[in-house]
Point group: C2
């Protein structure tokens, strides 16, 4: 579990650290590695668990402080999956305009990108007298597979 960051990502991290006059520490490296190791969304606590598997000494305080920095830098985004907790999404670096579909049957989260959606948002926003900056779309849906077959490849139980 010591897969290094991609060069592009590492370079964005380095740039951010340099621009803000921050220091590169073992704890930050571990947390960033844990965050970008996979494309899964995660809560603060899940990320803490993952980071501790790499290095058991990291603290929650540092985790939260690092999360703030990553969100501020744009490397990570907070997303609202309609659950109780805040989730973080590491995939905006590669796909800056994606959105989320959440299956109410199997809880699966599907990321999608659609140029028509972006254009339409732009159009709506300008007509209202604003200039679009960012947007997020969350679709909650039910699973065809679950409805038709009574089972779902993604459903856990």
């Amino acid at each position: 579990m010591t897969a290094p960051l991609s060069p592009a990502l590492q370079s964005r991290v380095d740039d951010f650290i340099a621009a803000k006059g921050l220091r590169r520490t073992r704890q930050r490296d571990v947390i960033i590695q844990a965050a970008f190791n996979t494309t899964d969304h995660f809560t603060a606590d899940e990320l803490w668990e993952r980071a501790r598997r790499i290095d058991p000494t990291s603290s929650r305080a540092t985790l939260y402080r690092t999360l703030s920095l990553l969100v501020e830098s744009g490397l990570l985004k907070e997303i609202d999956l309609g659950r109780d907790q805040t989730y973080y999404d590491p995939n905006f670096v590669d796909h800056p305009h994606h959105n989320h579909l959440i299956c109410l049957d199997c809880q699966k989260v599907v990321e999608f990108e659609d140029i028509h959606m972006s254009l339409l948002e732009d159009c709506i926003t300008r007509r209202l007298g604003f200039r679009p900056e960012t947007s997020s779309v969350r679709i909650e849906a039910s699973c065809d597979e679950w409805r038709l077959k009574g089972s779902c490849s993604r459903r856990r139980a």
Copy 2:
């Protein structure tokens, strides 16, 4: 500040109370009245303040319990305005498909509805193998008025 609920709304409230075998209490009436008195979005605490202006004896516990019921019944929806707190939106009863645009300059929240958006979401969702249930779109934008005139009719300061 004792404006009664609209008949349509009152009837939906009554239906919900009857269907769940709940009781109609003074505290619930007051909270519901405070929630639907205006079309403003509010936090739990803001609603508590409003309710106390009508009847100062209501407690936070009852407020939270009533909020849960209203959300469960569909009369109220939790919305994510990108701020720290959860906001509640009382306008879904009249406009079940509306979305939100938030101005980054003046913090104004504009509600909009767009049939093309709904159709596109439907299309995207089905193509991914799901059936759409609900969706929410949040657009963050900057204010033309503020950018062009250096002032904004909605900006407080």
